[in-house]
């Protein structure tokens, strides 16, 4: 077996994270005639990951194959949104959304500020690493989008959030980047889909603790919970905060957690320079310095492209083992 297998937790349910995304889109198409989905291979084929499987047949003309033109896909969504629609653009992989950056960052994100007219588009980014996916099918791009004003960036870590946050994403009158994690697609399961949820912008205490806080999001929530479980056997109680959305970032919940624990480790799967973990540390250092009993730490992927081979990939990104190692250092400091 490959090294550093990915951690998952409580996978006994019947509905996967991917199915939750499909169910949310189905509900949106059924209940809101303004919604349509535009993306590559998403109609009869059902999408590269089958997130739209069956929807084109059930909703004729509203789940549409696009040319391989990410810039034009988002441009079309912007124009449709200006005319009152609620478009969802599926990027085949988050990595390819770089081809649509101009329309997302320069056009959609500036629209409300410049013109006073909102631009309610949702861009779904199948994000994050899976074994063997390599440099161009593995990226986590939330920090890049979060850097720009005018965008909401969601990073759901659970089946329930994948469902309710996608529903909310379409309701929001502003551009939403929806980072759905490809590893979680199949590995994460729940017994059912909720009717109510925390609103976007509110973080969730995924596991309560008192000795240290891990602030993280998306697939790294599960790696961090695995770390907490391992350390619990040694008597440590580690709190895990699931950010849910990285923009807006729920600074209050992080401050509250650090006030309880005095120690902070921020974990992200993205590249290390800047980014979400750096933002978390910057906010706690500036707004909660007195709460800290030890220097805050952060753990990210390495500063190289994402490697193809699982042996390299498993070390490139943080795993439960790497998080546990970092946490031991933090607990000793």
């Amino acid at each position: 077996m490959f090294q550093n297998q990915t951690a998952t937790t409580a996978q006994t349910g019947t509905i996967t994270y991917l199915e939750a995304i499909r169910a949310a889109q189905r509900k949106l198409l059924a209940e809101d005639e303004r919604v349509f989905i535009y993306g590559q291979d998403i109609a009869d084929f059902g999408g590269a990951f089958k997130a739209t499987k069956g929807l084109a047949k059930e909703f004729p003309g509203r789940v549409i194959d696009s040319p391989i033109s990410e810039d034009a896909q988002v441009g079309l969504a912007i124009g449709a949104a200006l005319e009152g629609m609620r478009p969802i653009v599926e990027m085949q992989f988050a990595d390819f959304s770089t081809c649509g950056l101009t329309q997302i960052l320069q056009h959609a994100a500036t629209m409300f500020w410049r013109t006073g007219v909102p631009c309610p588009i949702v861009v779904r980014l199948p994000s994050g690493g899976t074994a063997g996916a390599g440099p161009f099918h593995s990226q986590s791009m939330e920090a890049l989008y979060a850097h720009y004003p005018g965008i909401v960036v969601m990073t759901p870590a659970t089946v329930e959030d994948a469902y309710t946050m996608l529903l909310e994403a379409v309701e929001i009158d502003d551009p939403v980047i929806f980072c759905e994690h490809k590893y979680l697609y199949y590995h994460l399961k729940a017994d059912g889909l909720p009717d109510v949820a925390l609103p976007t912008g509110k973080a969730r205490i995924a596991r309560a603790g008192r000795d240290a806080t891990i602030v993280t999001y998306s697939a790294m929530v599960h790696e961090s919970i695995a770390c907490a479980e391992e350390l619990a056997a040694e008597g440590w109680e580690i709190e895990v905060v699931d950010l849910r959305s990285v923009k807006p970032l729920d600074t209050d919940t992080i401050l509250g957690s650090v006030a309880r624990t005095g120690r902070l480790l921020a974990v992200g799967e993205a590249f290390p320079w800047g980014g979400v973990t750096a933002e978390v540390l910057a906010r706690i250092a500036t707004e909660g310095f007195g709460l800290l009993d030890a220097p805050p730490m952060r753990l990210n992927a390495k500063d190289t492209p994402v490697p193809y081979h699982p042996n390299l990939w498993g070390t490139h990104r943080p795993t439960a083992r790497a998080i546990t190692s970092a946490m031991r250092d933090l607990l000793r400091s």
Partner: protein, 343 residues
């Protein structure tokens, strides 16, 4: 389906075309006078940022502006003052944006040519060239999805923008989706300072229409009556369901890229050639020769335009400027999700 202007059959009656030419001239002269005033205000230090003139392109721009109707979609580009005014923008709104009035549609948040009112189908361009092609296509896609028929969307670009990926993606997608999009290409011989020889290698940009499977038209952009005739025809065909239309007009930008640019790199042979004609002069000659207007009538139109421009600019100059302490520093319409207050 490659067409050139002589092959175009314009169904409009001759008197209709004559009326259109006179209407177009009114917008052309208004745009010219307004832009001359804006250039003057820029030189006088009253305008911060750039001023970008459409001198030499008014005939083409007015043609598309007059061909569109209320309820259509229009995404003009840099040199489309005439088209903007013809589509419904007021002189005052244009002046307010250039002068930074907080009462203008952009409220000082954006300036000069980056203006529009999306709710009126008048989209505000971004500086990234070609981006509006797919955006207008998206607006048309939505209108069609809602069951609206007879709507046309148009956008204008230059020779330089035809080299962008956005132009290619947008036009190809519009053709795949069979949308009623009209793309007006003003081949004005320079993209900022770059001549067309460094921009494309095909014989003529209109050849590209065939590659996208869209109708292509070629016109002399210095000939106002040809511009009106062909552009109205292209819009009519799009409106009738014939899919995307691409009109390529050859003309010469008669000024620098912006008022900061002295245009020293201009090839003077172009200026002396027929392509270097000023379309306003040509329009006057055409209207007088055809008997549709007298010299005195055209002079009166210019004087009326000058009075309107003076009044609007005078108003905009007296209006309050944006105030940073009263500005709402929130880039999201959903206030509860804004981080603006946290920084």
């Amino acid at each position: 389906m490659l067409q050139t202007s002589p092959a175009v059959r314009n169904d409009a009656r001759p008197d209709e075309n004559k009326a259109r030419a006179l209407t177009a001239y009114r917008w052309m002269i208004l745009a010219r006078v307004l832009e001359e005033k804006l250039a003057s205000l820029y030189r006088g230090g009253k305008i911060t940022g750039g001023v970008f003139l459409g001198k030499g392109q008014e005939a083409l721009s007015a043609a598309i502006g007059t061909a569109l109707k209320k309820g259509d979609i229009f995404a003009p580009l840099i040199r489309d003052m005439a088209g903007r005014l013809a589509f419904g923008e007021s002189v005052l709104e244009a002046a307010r944006t250039y002068l930074g009035s907080r009462l203008g549609p952009m409220r000082g948040r954006d300036g000069n040519i980056h203006r529009g009112k999306p709710r009126d189908g008048y989209y505000a361009m971004i500086s990234h060239l070609g981006a509006m092609v797919s955006t207008v296509a998206g607006g048309l896609f939505a209108r069609r999805a809602r069951g609206e028929t007879g709507v046309v969307g148009a956008t204008c670009i230059g020779d330089g923008a035809t080299s962008t990926g956005s132009f290619h993606e947008g036009l190809n997608m519009a053709a795949v989706e069979k949308l009623p999009l009209v793309v007006i290409v003003a081949n004005n011989q320079y993209a900022y300072s770059t001549p067309t020889a460094r921009q494309y290698a095909c014989e003529d940009l209109v050849q590209r229409a065939a590659g996208y499977g869209v109708a292509g038209y070629k016109i002399d952009g210095t000939d106002p009556s040809a511009c009106v005739e062909v552009v109205h025809e292209a819009v009519a065909r799009a409106r009738a369901g014939a899919g995307p239309q691409m009109v390529v007009a050859d003309l010469l930008r008669l000024v620098g890229h912006g008022e900061h640019d002295d245009f020293h790199y201009m090839n003077h042979a172009l200026k002396l050639a027929p392509i270097g004609r000023d379309c306003l002069d040509v329009a006057r000659e055409q209207l007088i020769a055809s008997g549709d207007a007298t010299r005195a009538q055209l002079d009166t139109m210019r004087n009326q335009a000058a009075a309107e421009v003076e009044s609007a600019c005078g108003t905009a100059l007296r209006e309050a400027l944006p105030n940073p302490s009263e500005e709402d520093w929130c880039a999201l319409s959903t206030r509860r999700l804004s981080e603006g207050g946290q920084q």
